[in-house]
Assembly symmetry: C2
Homo-oligomer: 337 residues x 2
Amino acid sequence: MVVAPPHGTAFEAAIQVNPINSHQYSAYLRQDWCIGAVPHGGYTSAILYRLALTHFAHTHPLQYRGPATPIAMQLTFLRRTAVGPALLNVQDVKIGSRTSTLHVTLTQPKQSGRGVGSEGAVQEEQELKIAGYITVSPAHAEVGLTAPTGWAPLPMPARGSRPDGGVDLVALGGSGRDGEWERIQLPFPEFRRATQHVDLYSPRQPTTMAAVDQWARFRPEGDQTARWSNEALVYLTDTFPLALSGLDQRAATAEGGGEAGGRHWYPTVALNIDFKKRLPATGEAWLYSRVQTVSVRGGRTDLGVTVMDAAGQVVAVATQVGLVVSASRNLGRRPKL
Amino acid sequence: MVVAPPHGTAFEAAIQVNPINSHQYSAYLRQDWCIGAVPHGGYTSAILYRLALTHFAHTHPLQYRGPATPIAMQLTFLRRTAVGPALLNVQDVKIGSRTSTLHVTLTQPKQSGRGVGSEGAVQEEQELKIAGYITVSPAHAEVGLTAPTGWAPLPMPARGSRPDGGVDLVALGGSGRDGEWERIQLPFPEFRRATQHVDLYSPRQPTTMAAVDQWARFRPEGDQTARWSNEALVYLTDTFPLALSGLDQRAATAEGGGEAGGRHWYPTVALNIDFKKRLPATGEAWLYSRVQTVSVRGGRTDLGVTVMDAAGQVVAVATQVGLVVSASRNLGRRPKL
């Protein structure tokens, strides 16, 4: 029996990875998952997560007694991706008894994004867009020390209505409010299309860029029944519209501009994800993200994201280096990163 | 005039990178910079930082109006390195106007570490030990938004004697004490040889694993005049003996063991460094590190390190995925990571 993925059929179709041979796969980057004209970095990273799963199932099915899932992803974004077909290549850098490491690349036809992409275009000259390393481990190999560290998000998140200060997620999802939290509408829905696939909640009081909090439900292409899967979690580690709004405001102030100053694009240069806990096969309805920016200097920013589940367990820790550039760089003809 | 590097001649010799051709270089991993039998991950990463600098100076000297320095390093540690010669290969993945990205590898002769290494051994069959991506940018290309984020280490660091709570570093270095801080002796000096190259200070009160603080001066092979350079900073992002002592204690408790339980090795699986500020050419005398562990599960831990200078500016943010294994795995014949 094939169990339907908890993230729903729309996202499943968007992250589909199909084998061409033992070390080459194809994918198709969708219009719905773009920021402006460029597929969202968390979305393309979710495709590469799926690539690692597919590669072990397809090419190394007997390597481990269970699925090998990524424990660490280190990706570098070299050139703007574009809507259309993508070729995925895998090198088996190390196949080990506890962990294995793959080198992965995502390439696209050199002219893609400047004309109409077509399925046949994968035969053309390819350009490297994303590359990196993915370390996988099967759950059964993860034995050894487990210990509490006392870590908690600081400053403390805004309070919900529960006696312990936690958020009542049923109330929040139902009425759109709980304690200091409320549902939010995202800015620039047309440009930031890829970040519209979440139902997002934040504290009413403005926070600093040093600590932006959100609770989110996954709503891919509006699917109200979807839940967070491991692949959807990858998308979430790069989805923090409120933190970007904070950068927007600062950029607008720096430029002395009004609303137009808010039109920025934050391309990811490097994204690293450390997976701390596998999500259950049935997914999670809610995930919390603490997004932290340590410094913004010379048009370059860091974004650290810690994702926790409703039980307070840390699911993933992600860090990225991003640029702060005008939105015109997203839509222009010549990518100059 | 050649200015002597602030990190001193001993470290300079230890991280030497020599061109073989336009995209191949050699290095020699030193005994003094090992944990047990394995060269320290921060040390080998410092060599790869130097590789990026050397490669641009040697092969792309006219690409930028100034040195291209790493802004992001994403390294994966595949197999135990060994004392002896190492071959460094570089691929120019992207040479851009603002940033360039290199793919780098460190390989060693397949039998290295099991016999006596020799300089001639680089001709033998090579085994991939470390691989990753380094993104560089010249300082002049880093233009754009600079904005305060309000970030500060939380919980607050232990107090020094200054009226604002800061540490008087002259007093701390002179008498070994200031406010709540004091000089510390490191555990397991024989096994953790590579971490002996720092003069280290910590709060007297024990801290939690969620936030371990240190102030450190660089003392490579005992050199009292050395200061932190960018390369030495890379070594520092992987040097946090107090955080590892915290893990040691937890591991010992979990095993119900006594002192022997403390004998653990924490090999790095993946190391990511985001460079936020270039250090001055004259180096820095002191650097502060906040080391944070979010969770330890199934023998796998995360370590987040934020390095700041004496003026309170963030210099680098690093994250790593590490394993917690018995020290015997370091010294044994068959690496099984």
